[in-house]
């Protein structure tokens, strides 16, 4: 099996010695070339996890490999865009891109960065402080993609954009990523923004990964049942069930076929799958085989 873009085992981060664990017992694997949605409610630990992946936050425990290396060693191969899209306000777009070139000698694609800026009809002489939110995101994205990363980490990149800017930027981003085979992780608490764009999914809640794997496989591993109130077989994991009078709906794992009973069985939509899990904190975590971490490097200690 080729090197995973990300492999985390028992990853944890606690701020301060007695603080709450922002990320805990977090284990998953992300194969290369995927466009992965990192979804979860606000405060789930998405930003902390991304910070760890980017090498900005030192894990309190656990092991982490990015492109087979520690995040610090993988710095040439990864790019990170924080939620605030921080850029120097006094720099022009041109100077900002020059900065990307200066800090990534030898593997900066100036043409690509310039193309992304141009697709947004931006004048390179404009100062960053004069840009709108969407334009700023575009420049920040150009800076990330100009670096030609193998792994691109985006923290809520589209949160403050209008739908048109969001659609255009997402289109540019996916086209660039698709062409270069870049693995992308996009965090968001709004699912609609990512549906259709992502073929891989990580659902994070309370610092843990609750669902991980190919979107298709996660969906087909679940079934949405509806019918008269019936006992569901003991071998079936029930994520969530709701009874309305004599009618009942349930989201279950297809871990024991056949499901039996007098059910109407359909595959849930992504939204139904995620909402059911978020409403049912007791439901066990599920990782598809490709999302299961292989042993990182035996006895490699805390990856730092």
């Amino acid at each position: 099996m080729s090197i995973a873009a990300i492999e985390a085992v028992g990853l944890g981060k606690r701020y301060g010695r007695l603080g709450k664990w922002a990320v805990q017992d977090c284990s998953f694997r992300l194969p290369q070339g995927q466009i992965c949605a990192l979804v979860g409610p606000n405060g789930a630990g998405k930003s902390t996890l991304l910070g760890q992946l980017a090498g900005l936050v030192r894990p309190s425990r656990g092991e982490l490999r990015v492109m087979g290396k520690t995040p610090g060693a993988a710095r040439q191969q990864l790019a990170f865009l924080a939620q605030e899209k921080p850029l120097y306000p006094q720099f022009t777009i041109e100077e900002t891109l020059r900065m990307g070139q200066e800090l990534n000698p030898g593997h900066w694609d100036a043409e690509r960065a310039a193309r992304i800026v141009k697709e947004g009809d931006l004048d390179p002489g404009t100062k960053v402080r004069e840009l709108s939110g969407g334009q700023r995101t575009r420049v920040a994205l150009a800076l990330c993609l100009g670096k030609q990363p193998d792994l691109l980490l985006l923290d809520e990149p589209m949160a403050d954009l209008d739908p048109l800017a969001r659609h255009q930027l997402m289109g540019n981003l996916l086209a660039e990523a698709g062409e270069s085979g870049t693995t992308v992780v996009i965090s968001s608490h709004i699912l609609a923004e990512l549906e259709g764009a992502c073929d891989y999914l990580l659902l994070m809640e309370n610092g843990r990964i609750r669902l991980g794997g190919e979107t298709d496989e996660l969906l087909s591993a679940h079934a949405l049942l509806s019918g008269p109130v019936t006992e569901i077989g003991a071998g079936t994991t029930v994520v969530e069930s709701k009874v309305t009078g004599r009618h009942m709906t349930a989201l279950v794992r297809r871990d024991s076929e056949p499901l039996g009973g007098d059910w109407e069985v359909v595959e849930p939509t992504l939204e139904e799958l995620l909402l059911a899990h978020m409403r049912s904190p007791q439901a066990p975590a599920l990782l598809t085989p490709s999302a299961e971490p292989q042993a990182v490097r035996a006895g490699a200690g805390v990856a730092a």
Partner: protein, 129 residues
Amino acid sequence: MVEYRIDRRSGVATYLQIVQQTKHALRLGLLEPGDQLPTARAVVEATAINPNTVLKAYRELEREGLVEARRGMGTFVTRSLGAAQPADSPLREELRKWAERARSSGMDKDDVAALFTSVLDQIFEGEQG
């Protein structure tokens, strides 16, 4: 050239929407052998869907022998869907007459569509769209 419209709420898998829309264009003669499909990049930029989805759809069309990927040039239509009927074909004429009869019998558009679909489903049962 076709332009794909992706409906995220339709419940139909995105790659299937691309396959179906391509076939639709082939049937209507909007795409003919030798025509180029939009590049995956162009589709992704326009629709903001996953690039792998577009590639999957194109591979499916290729597997069905409808298109062919030429290295470094793009994806080209190799075969039209021959069953497509020109606007003045006898079958179309028959269907038009049938639809007029349905309307004069008091059915509205939805009734006619439902009837038509249910007959189609019955006749083509077991075949993939």
